[in-house]
Amino acid sequence: MTDLEYLSYSKWKKLLVRTGNFFTSLPGKCGNGLKKLGLKVLNFFMNLFTSLKGLVTTFINGDWKTRLSYLVMGFGSCARGQWGRGILFFLFQTVFNLYMVNFGVAYLSKLNTLGVVETYKEGRRTVYGDNSFLILLYGILTLFFILAFLYTWYLNIKQNRISEEILKSGKKLKTAKDDLKSLADEQFHKTLLALPTLGVTAFTILPILFMILVAFTNFDATHQPPSKLFTWVGWDNFRQLLSSDNASYGGTFGQVLLWTLIWAFFATFLNYFLGMLVAIMINKKGIKLKKVWRTILVMTIAIPQFVSLLYVSKMFAADGLINGYLMRWGWITEPLPFWTDPIWARVTIIVINVWIGIPYLMLIATGILMNIPADLYESARIDGANAFQMYKRITLPYMLFVTGPYLLTSFTGNINNFNVIYLLSGGKPLSMNLSGNAGYTDLLITWLYKMTVNDTNYKLAAVIGILVFVVTAVINLIVYNMIPSVKNEEDFQ
């Protein structure tokens, strides 16, 4: 098919062709991605190999200071007068050794069973056995520690080699003062990133790894440390959540996932288009008090959500203000089932979310609308385009182009939009058809929360978390491949 042919198609056929193209190119893209991934892995191992080779050659070619550094970290640095570095290396090694001897080895050796000694009662006294939770957590921590140690050890040797080379060429080594100075200059990024990296490693990466592993154990209400042990169960939890037979969670998961996607779709696109419309209205020439309108709408962003959403949720309750007034005025005889009927509850939530979301989009759209060159509209008007045509041909494409990445983040953000659901309906109405305490308005994320807090069913919560990640990642991957503007970050500079 040539380009000319494509241009002659009707609009719908064009769309059809494009969708077709997307799907036919999907396997190729996936293949490319896999190929890239494979290359990266290969690259990684090649690098590892060269580093190992480097270690060996350094040992063979190095002097005795370097060779001793293989055993005692930092020895070479100290012997060459770089005391600061040397002592730091040595301290790290000491701490690591102490940790491994005292805790690390014990936890690591139990990691494959997660503990076998049960807690039991001896008369009135409880004798604590193994704590599976601690074993798993500290086991991961120990692995982290070992990796860090290996890397530092490698650095230590590389340092020796570089120092040797510098000394051979007759130059002077850097002093500790120079090192400190370079932390404010050439190595400034290390200073800037040290603390955040530490924080993210300890409070994000470690917990996430832990929870991923929990998904493969039977850690739940009946296996709670320290009184009970839990252990590895393989893919059982995934099977329990996804299979549709007997009393497992398959059906519920499907329903909750479906509602999560529907919700995310409406919450993103309804807000997007309505917000844009409001922005266009407020920014129209001849409309006065622009700032006042904007300020009024922005109130929902300013007021903390737990105040506004909790209040609104009570307003719509069966004995709340809205039902009260409607009944007083005689418009209805029974309270409207805002929070008790599944469909009503879902629609109400989406509508209230519009109330929360429009101002945000209005602000964004205002900023972007200001950037559209005015002469585009001018020439369109001369050509006799009407308002809707200009919107469709100029405003919308421009907005979509510029806010593509935002739409993506907003969609995934809405999949995880806990506050709105939890504060408004708490996932209710509950139903006998759904297992695991899920309600009709529960998103995956609120379901996960209920699993964790109410049922202490940690294993299933972990599985749900992983599946949310999978859903998000798949959506992101597909969309990233479709938006070219996201990829090239240097363009903005």
Binding site: P196, P207, V468
Partner: protein, 446 residues
């Protein structure tokens, strides 16, 4: 940065029939006005209702949810009184506030006098003015200290109770000083020992901001510590403490991460960005129990929930670098390069060149970091589990309305909500400009 191009009339226009154009335009505008008015009513109604209901007495009428809006037994402040019940908030704090206002006014008066003096005399007599300034400040300081002693004369709590008054006085003095000194920089130039106005100006700014900040922290501490506080005040104090600490620490972290990722090309940069991207796809509550356990190991749950929450909010905040990185990306790199050629280190480039240019995004980051803890319900309730003295306002009020038999506590929830929303809303509306800048910039750059 965006240039303010003319606002496009995206909606309407383009009528070919020129004669009816004006009439058509008018009708369209009328329709838009009608729509906007309706929207405004919908947007504001819940908040107005909230305020109305907070004035219904829970003692003489009913504290629960009812199906009417305006109080029947007259408007009362009972709900608000309940929030402060059992605390000596008004006697203690009110008198401190009063003292500070009086002292601040005094200082303003003195500065005004100085200014008049400066205007009258020649700038060459700088030395006397400098002395005069120092003396007057000393007098005010002694006066304020004396006032504090008189007002809260208990020897045991003297320092604690005098501290906020002093600090508030300093803050007032700072504001006054800025106000007057700004008018006439000759005063600054007339002070010997200061070559030009810049160093002093800077010191004043930093000192003043520091004093303001220390003051607010001191106030928080004092709200909780030396007096009998009501539950609500404790919750409020907790939240304020968290918010203030998070605002500072998180801003520092976010700005350093985004600066490093935007300006410096180093090995592993792409890797970090990709890892953060992947980590961000995991739902936040997944790690809740692990975090809770980690905090428990550190002794930062239940009683220690406030520092624990600060730690949690700040630890992972480096992952939210997108928006400020997007902003840094728009500042031309040539600025950095020319400064580095002139011999500036990266650190100097960071805080001398980039930071002043990035003021909008700094304020945006502070604003966001400050506002987030007020709304956090989930993690706060999990960490403070069972210890009502460690709740933040969101948890406390949520429990009033949903757990503690909301029939009786609804109006008190409304009153508490109003007191939370009021300062936050005012702050937000004042800094709206920066918020818009951050939000639009972030949305465009992803």
């Amino acid at each position: 940065m965006r240039t303010k191009a003319s606002i496009p009339e995206a909606g309407m226009g383009g009528q070919t029939r020129t004669r009816s154009k004006a009439g058509h335009e008018k009708r369209v505008n009328g329709g838009i006005y009608a729509l906007l008015v309706i929207m405004s009513v919908i947007w504001l109604a819940p908040f107005v209702f909230l305020i109305f209901q907070s004035f219904r007495s829970y003692l003489t009428e009913t504290g629960g949810m009812v199906d009417y809006l305006l109080p029947k037994n007259g408007w009362s402040l009972d709900n608000y009184a309940f929030l402060f019940e059992g605390s000596d908030f008004f006697s203690w704090w009110g008198s401190t506030l009063l003292a500070s206002i009086v002292l601040g006014a005094l200082q303003m008066g003195i500065l005004a006098l100085i200014k008049r003096e400066v205007n009258k005399r020649d700038a060459s007599e700088g030395k006397t003015q400098y002395l005069f300034l120092a003396l007057s400040l000393l007098v005010v300081f002694v006066l304020s200290a004396a006032a504090c002693v008189i007002l809260h004369g208990k020897p045991d709590s003297l320092i604690l109770s005098a501290l906020p008054a002093l600090v508030l006085y300093m803050a007032a003095g700072y504001v006054a000083g800025r106000f007057y000194l700004k008018q006439d920089s000759r005063l600054l130039q007339s002070i010997p020992g200061y070559p030009v106005e810049t160093p002093l100006d800077k010191a004043k700014k930093i000192g003043g901001l520091g004093a303001l900040y220390a003051g607010v922290i001191a106030i928080v501490m004092c709200i909780i510590k030396p007096m009998n506080a009501s539950q609500y005040l404790i919750w409020y104090g907790n939240t304020l403490t968290i918010a203030l600490f998070v605002a500072v620490i998180q801003t520092v972290i976010v700005l350093s991460v985004s600066y490093a990722l935007s300006r410096i090309r180093f090995k592993g940069r792409k890797l970090i960005m990709n890892v953060v991207l992947i980590l961000g796809m995991f739902p936040g509550f997944l790690t809740m129990i692990t975090l809770y356990f980690l905090l428990k190991q550190l002794g930062l749950t239940q009683e220690g929930a406030v520092p624990g929450l600060i730690l949690i909010y700040c630890a992972s905040s480096g992952m939210g670098y997108y928006i400020s990185k997007g902003f840094f990306d728009t500042i031309p790199k040539s600025l950095d390069e020319s400064a580095r050629i002139d011999g500036a280190t990266r650190l100097q480039v960071f805080y001398k060149i980039i930071m002043p240019l990035a003021k909008p995004i700094v304020i945006y980051t502070i604003l966001m970091a400050f506002m987030a803890p007020w709304g956090d319900f989930v993690f706060a309730s999990y960490v403070a589990f069972g210890k009502s003295n460690s709740y933040n306002v969101a948890v406390g009020l949520y429990r009033w309305v949903n757990v503690n038999d909301y029939q009786g506590y609804f109006t008190r929830f409304c009153a508490g909500g109003v007191l939370v929303a009021l300062p936050i809303t005012i702050l937000f509306l004042c800094l709206q400009k920066y918020y818009v800048e951050g939000v639009t910039g972030g949305a465009v750059k992803g």
